[in-house]
């Protein structure tokens, strides 16, 4: 177990929200076809409110802070927020499309001590990338931004969300990342819109493409092991938690709403009405999320994949019940191993689920081991 994983266990033991994802705006200068957000300002927290939230989070023991959006540089006070967060000694990761990052911004990010910047690129070809972002010239500006950031010695990860429009280009993005000295993470995941609209799920890649991703040695360190049938679950598995959402991590919207995770839109309190710790310790919703063990899951508790599935409770919630299956994850397990899930057998399906496949893979950089991680760690930057 890595030291960070040990700290996560410790945070679980002490009930500490070790990892927090804070969206500072939903406004954006791109209009990506797959984005799950709207782009209006419905009353974002002020600079002072965000600083107060950050102070509360530091006092609660939060350490890993992801600042995202929307496009974070749409906020004129972004650097003030980042400086304040770093003053509180958060480890800060920034998610951005990079379009507004020039040499000056890159230098300031380095001076402030942002640990990592994640930037979305959909294709190495401008005609594909710019068609997805709907912003002409965006690929060039984003690549320029990565060069400025790398020139400052900053760590950059290129996040490559896969859709039917750009699936053929992921090898090109891998090569681009290598050329720029950036890490690469691929995410064949289209999520329902935050308001529940599922229409964008039509953009998901095909099942055959998903199988290809799972079996591509460029993305998966040990394909044979990764795609092996799941071992029988032990008691520890059945007593285990579905994921860290609400246990050691949470999400805060630009309006101060607290959720278990960015992909788990269960309103659990608002920071304009309560303190963070009152919500974290007192929210009935978070208590319910924390009470769920694998053995409590309807259908999934009897599934062969229960111990190895990436089941996302947020997607299950989207489908109707946080105790139920996430059919997107059923597809993942099926495409990975060839073994249908209990949910698929029950519903008699071998065909594609309504919500499409969902996976996250983070390999490629060669110094980073292959990881297929849970939903809440996903690359959801708009």
């Amino acid at each position: 177990m890595s030291l960070l994983a040990e700290m996560n266990q410790r945070a679980l033991h002490f009930g500490v929200p070790l990892s927090v994802h804070l969206d500072v705006t939903y406004r954006c200068n791109e209009r990506c076809v797959h984005c799950y957000l709207d782009h209006d300002d419905h009353g974002e927290m002020t600079t002072a409110e965000i600083k107060d939230v950050l102070t509360q989070l530091s006092e609660a023991g939060s350490f890993l802070l992801t600042i995202s959006g929307g496009e974070v540089f749409m906020r004129r006070d972004l650097f003030e927020i980042l400086e304040y967060a770093r003053g509180l000694l958060f480890n800060v990761k920034l998610k951005t499309n990079g379009v507004m990052i020039r040499e000056r911004e890159a230098k300031r990010l380095r001076e402030i001590g942002v640990e990592q910047i994640q930037i979305s690129i959909y294709s190495h070809r401008p005609e594909v990338h710019d068609a997805i972002t709907k912003l002409p010239g965006s690929l060039k500006r984003t690549i320029d931004a990565i060069r400025f950031l790398r020139a400052q010695g900053l760590k950059v990860t290129i996040a490559n969300v896969l859709m039917s429009e750009n699936f053929a280009d992921y090898a090109g993005v891998i090569a681009l990342a290598k050329n720029l000295g950036a890490s690469y993470t691929v995410d064949p995941t289209i999520t329902p819109k935050i308001d529940g609209d599922r229409s964008i799920l039509r953009l998901n890649i095909e099942e055959s493409d998903l199988r290809q991703v799972f079996r591509d040695p460029a993305l998966v360190d040990d394909v044979e092991k990764f795609c092996a049938p799941p071992p029988p679950p032990g008691e520890d598995v059945m007593e285990g938690y579905p994921c860290s959402a609400g246990h050691t991590s949470c999400y805060i919207s630009p309006y101060g709403d607290v959720y278990p995770c960015v992909a788990f839109p269960l309103p659990s309190g608002n920071l304009r009405q309560q303190t963070f710790l009152d919500i974290w310790h007192g929210s009935a919703e978070l208590k319910q999320v924390r009470s769920i063990r694998a053995k409590d899951l309807t259908t999934c508790s009897s599934c062969a994949h229960v111990g190895s599935c990436s089941r996302c409770p947020g997607l299950a919630y989207f489908e109707g019940s946080m105790y139920g299956p996430s059919s997107a994850d059923c597809q993942k397990s099926f495409q990975r191993t060839g073994i249908p899930s209990a949910n698929m057998l029950r519903s008699g399906q071998g065909q594609r689920s309504a919500s499409g496949p969902l996976i996250q893979i983070q390999p490629m950089d060669h110094s980073v081991p292959m990881v297929v991680s849970s939903w809440e760690q996903n690359n959801l930057t708009a």
Binding site: S2, L3, L4, M7, R10, A11, H13, F14, V16, L18, S58, E59, G61, S62, F63, R86, G87, L88, L89, F90, N91, V92, G113, V114, E115, Q116, G153, K155
Partner: protein
């Protein structure tokens, strides 16, 4: 041996968790945890106090250890942290010391 002064780097992230200090270098993402003794030294590393002063006030006042032994151990420890860029070491006080508010 000359007196040493130590200062926390601004290029780190840190937080207390269950009595241990988590520290991550934002330059290379190296992750450390410090026990209570190491945490006391690290938190006192303001660039103005000498290592001997820090050890005397934070360690020897709380533990049954001689100043000479404790300083010798602390020098090894601070050299290691400096090697990872999370502490600065100097033979004279380090001005413009840490602006961060300190880990909770």
């Amino acid at each position: 041996m000359s007196e040493k002064y130590i200062r926390r780097s601004s290029q780190i992230a840190a937080r207390m968790l269950g009595g241990e200090m988590m520290i991550m270098s934002v330059k290379d993402s190296t992750f450390f945890t410090l026990d209570s003794v190491a945490t006391a030294i690290w938190q006192a590393a303001d660039g103005r106090s000498s290592l001997t002063e820090i050890v005397a006030s934070k360690i020897c006042s709380q533990f049954d250890v001689s100043l000479e032994t404790a300083v010798r151990d602390a020098e090894v420890f601070v050299q290691e942290l400096a090697g990872h860029g999370i502490l600065q070491i100097s033979d004279r006080p380090i001005m413009n010391a840490e602006q961060t508010r300190g880990a909770q």
